[in-house]
Symmetry: C2
Subunit: 259 residues, 2 copies
């Protein structure tokens, strides 16, 4: 029987709020079993870029990563955000180790080809190195991934943190029984966007099709749901979507997604 492994992704809104981050990191530290954290930090990078006089360009919510922006992203994601999180986890007795995809060649990618839009130094993930990540877990370390990958030719690449989380979960599913947690600002998938508590507690393929047919899933939620089912179709056991309280235990509201 495979060991259980939790992959938890937190968004920028948690990282940028000191008390929220502290609360989350305590919950994450208390989480039983093998675990991996994946974090973003986009807003923090945008703020730092502004301080340096660099204008961040976003198209459809995605950053155009020119050379200057990439430098800021490497500093903020790989440096400030990652080390702040790792040091706090260490203070909770959680033996965290911060990683970009270049570290141990854990996540390799290629520069996104230019079609309609040139995203610059944006990376599309080709694969993960499950053996190396597993070796870290076996050394009782807790990997903390920032949203950076590399192309194996010396180039760092900016990669969506949701994608990193799902790709890591998929890649690790060969060796572990994986659960992927997406922590965001809402309590889960809502049946009524105006009602924060209208959380759908369980979604499977059939229910998902029903929700799609009823057009009950908010536009912003659609890519996230597609990402979830992509992960489930590639070996991930279950995906949980909710706010950080989802890590507290059975009582919290959140959405559990399975095939």
């Amino acid at each position: 029987m495979k060991q259980k492994l939790s992959i938890v992704k937190i968004g920028g809104n948690v990282i940028e709020n000191e008390s929220e981050l502290k609360k989350f990191l305590t919950l994450f530290s208390d989480l039983d079993g093998l675990k991996i954290l994946v974090h973003g930090g986009g807003k923090m990078a945008t703020q730092m870029a502004a301080k340096l006089g660099i204008v961040s360009q976003l198209v459809g919510g995605r950053r155009i990563t020119d050379a200057e922006s990439l430098e800021v992203i490497i500093m903020v994601y790989g440096g400030l955000a990652n080390k702040t999180i790792v040091a706090q986890l260490q203070s909770n007795g959680c033996n965290a180790i911060g990683l970009s995809g270049a570290d141990g060649n854990t996540i390799y990618a290629h520069k996104r080809p230019v079609k309609d839009i040139d995203y610059g130094f944006a990376g599309d993930v080709d694969g993960i190195n499950a053996k190396t990540i597993s070796a870290l877990l076996n050394s009782e370390l807790v990997p903390v991934f920032c949203a950076l990958t590399h192309d194996g030719k010396g180039q760092m690449l900016n990669t969506n943190a949701d994608t990193i989380a799902s790709e890591v979960a998929i890649g690790m599913s060969l060796l572990y029984e994986t659960t992927l947690y997406y922590c965001f600002e809402k309590k889960g998938v809502l049946i009524d966007v105006a009602d924060e508590n209208s959380v759908v507690s369980a979604i499977d393929s059939k229910k998902y099709q029903e929700l799609l047919d009823q057009k009950s899933i908010a536009d912003g939620m659609l890519p996230k749901m597609e990402n979830c089912f992509h992960a489930l179709h590639h070996g991930v056991r279950q995906v949980c979507i909710g706010d950080t309280s989802m890590l507290e235990g059975v009582s919290a509201l959140f959405t559990k997604i399975t095939l």
Copy 2:
């Protein structure tokens, strides 16, 4: 018999010069056996701080690390410098993994007590976690340390890269036969500071005393030499000082220091 382990420290002058860095990283990648890299990045941090309008204060060559400067140092050392090096090593087929002292609790320190000068968030090393570093080496990873430690209570600390290199070498000497390499801008310890080629090829305790008696060691070299003998007195087998060509092989000029 203990396995051999090389700990190589490079200074900011190598990191900041793209072609020098590339040359060095090729030599480092080709180095046989188990190895660890330690890098600084002070000048790069000073430049980034200036871009952000932060004035870097140095007293006796040591940085006063206030909260703002620490943020820049974490970004530059842990982010930009570390990931640039790791990605380049990966492209050379060297399976590098970037680390601060917080990562895996590999290097723990305390904030330097205020005496005459308040150095701010400067860390004095208390110890290293040889077991975790050894686990990484056993996983065929090459640790790349930046000049950051942590206090175990959530605080990152700025720590001299020379000190990190010697403390890592000392700590690893329990498990390995260690050689510590200090790569800097000169070819080694010079008998005549005006002559770049007047390298003393071998120094032991007796020779060191002679050089001290003759006042033949330049003032700037004294703390480095003290650091070297401190390491040798605490289990490090030998220390080599020279420029990057010292890693090329037997033909290069450099200074080998033993007890």
